[in-house]
């Protein structure tokens, strides 16, 4: 597993600099204009882009054949991509947390932090099975549609959240837990599906 992750980090090392710069830039924007949507959008985008880019390199190089021929278990190969996505999500979440604290987003509720982090996981859960099933080229198109849809949903939810008429606005922790549960279930279901897809894949 470590070998696979290491290979991915080596492969994407040049792009990683750009991704990091984008995260920082958007988090600074978040803090400056006190609008969490900027940081959140970028975090979601990066968390799915990195595993996608890593898989694109694998497809180009024929690494998927190599690693299967090396006797690597299908589950390990699939889990590695989820782990990569989650690691990137963690970095994005950490940067977003700083921006969130600086912009005093917690005054409105911690759900503004939890929801985007969970959204990263849900986006990852949707995109990775598509990547394993259709390959990066097709999955990239689907990803753009999905990320835009997710951002629209997120912004809409946040608008609803701010509304005074929403009676559950005061129950911050219930929603945070619910979002986390949804993200965890989505990840597990997605992982199960991806393993099934990959097991039948041929290169």
């Amino acid at each position: 597993m470590f070998g696979l992750i290491l290979k991915d980090f080596y492969n994407i090392r040049k792009q990683a600099v750009w991704y990091a710069a984008m995260i920082v830039l958007f988090c600074v924007l978040t803090a400056a204009v006190r609008n969490v949507a900027y940081g959140m959008s970028m975090a979601v985008l990066v968390s799915v882009s990195v595993p996608l880019t890593a898989t694109a390199y694998e497809e180009k190089d024929g690494w998927q054949k190599f690693v299967i021929a090396s006797g690597m278990d299908t589950r390990t190969i699939v889990i590695e991509k989820y782990l990569l996505g989650l690691l990137v999500s963690l970095v994005g979440a950490a940067a977003y947390l700083i921006a969130f604290l600086i912009s005093e987003g917690y005054v409105s509720g911690w759900i503004y932090f939890v929801a985007p982090v969970c959204l990263q996981c849900v986006a990852l859960s949707v995109v990775l099975p598509l990547v394993f099933k259709f390959g990066v080229e097709k999955a990239r198109t689907y990803m753009i549609i999905i990320v835009v849809a997710f951002m629209v949903i997120a912004v809409g939810l946040m608008g609803l959240w701010k509304s005074d008429i929403n009676p559950i606005a005061k129950r911050d922790w219930i929603l945070s837990l619910s979002f986390s549960a949804v993200a965890a279930v989505a990840l597990l279901l997605s992982l199960y599906l991806s393993i099934k897809i990959y097991r039948h894949k041929e290169f």
């Binding site: 070998g3 290491l6 492969n11 090392r13 054949k65 021929a69 090396s70």
Partner: protein
């Protein structure tokens, strides 16, 4: 004892089938897999490496069924793929670190030694290597881990004679170690004639023959015959015929042909050519 054995392997694609492929790779032997483009060589090799799932048949390594082998058993099979499969954005030092964490029996010292022997540039990314250097890097990876069987898919394809000779030398050295075996597919039958103990010929997804190389080259011969001679010969002796302007070239089983007929030795290339382009001899 066979290092690998394939029995009745079949794989069906929309426009191509591999059907009932059976052969063995004996311990201590080099087996050459020959056949024209699209004959099914890569499908057979990919099936052996678990990259494609066969529709039928069985594959054994050291008596163990491929699908039931543990990761450590699978790692005893080393391989070189036609496109190498190595991550091209890495340099050799990075590759060494990655492989150290992929293979349990990885030897960094051996890898560094092979890099030196192959004169591979250490500072460059793999994508900046020439085709020959990429193949050498793939071979260095394959030989730097503990393995007992080496499977190579077109390792010398498109390489110059000097590089090819170096690679064949490495394979020869590998095979001399006790309990090792090599399966190599190649278009370059001249290379295989030098290296192999056994030849498996695949034609349109089927095994035409799987025989000991020396016996095979002894068995067949090429005869240039006129029409009268063609009528005289035993039909069972004839494998394939090619009509020429000057007469008929016949690939035949030497011992069944009249001793008085002149013949030339059949090379693996000749045999492949006759099977691919030749016709059956009509009985009329």
């Amino acid at each position: 004892m066979n290092k690998a054995e394939i029995k009745d392997l079949s794989k069906h694609y929309e426009k191509f089938d591999v059907e009932s492929v059976s052969f063995a790779v004996p311990s201590g032997a080099v087996v050459g897999l020959i056949g024209e483009n699209g004959a099914g060589k890569s499908t057979v090799i990919k099936s052996m490496l678990g990259i494609v799932q066969p529709d039928g048949g069985q594959i054994w390594f050291d008596g163990k069924v491929l699908g039931q082998m543990s990761r450590s058993d699978r790692q005893k099979i080393s391989f070189v793929l036609d496109d190498t499969g190595l991550p091209m954005e890495l340099d050799l030092a990075m590759l060494d670190k990655v492989m150290r964490n992929v293979y349990a029996g990885w030897h960094s010292e051996r890898f560094r030694e092979l890099i030196g022997r192959f004169q591979l540039p250490e500072g460059k990314l793999l994508k900046e290597f020439s085709k020959g250097m990429k193949m050498k890097a793939a071979i260095a990876v394959a030989l730097s881990r503990d393995s007992e069987l080496l499977i190579l898919d077109e390792p010398t394809d498109g390489l110059d004679p000097v590089v090819r000779d170096e690679i064949l030398g490495m394979l020869y050295d590998y095979n001399r170690q006790e309990g090792h075996a090599v399966l190599i597919s190649s278009h370059n039958t001249a290379d295989l004639e030098k290296l192999c103990d056994y030849i498996v010929y695949l034609h349109r997804g089927r095994v035409i023959f799987a025989e000991e190389k020396d016996a095979l080259l002894q068995k067949f011969a090429i005869y240039s015959l006129d029409d009268v001679q063609v009528r005289e010969i035993d039909r069972d002796a004839v494998v394939k015929v090619c009509k020429r302007e000057y007469g008929t070239d016949v690939l035949a089983i030497k011992e069944k042909m009249p001793e008085s007929f002149e013949y030339s030795k059949a090379t693996l290339d000749d045999i492949m050519l006759f099977y691919a382009k030749g016709e059956d001899l009509c009985s009329d």
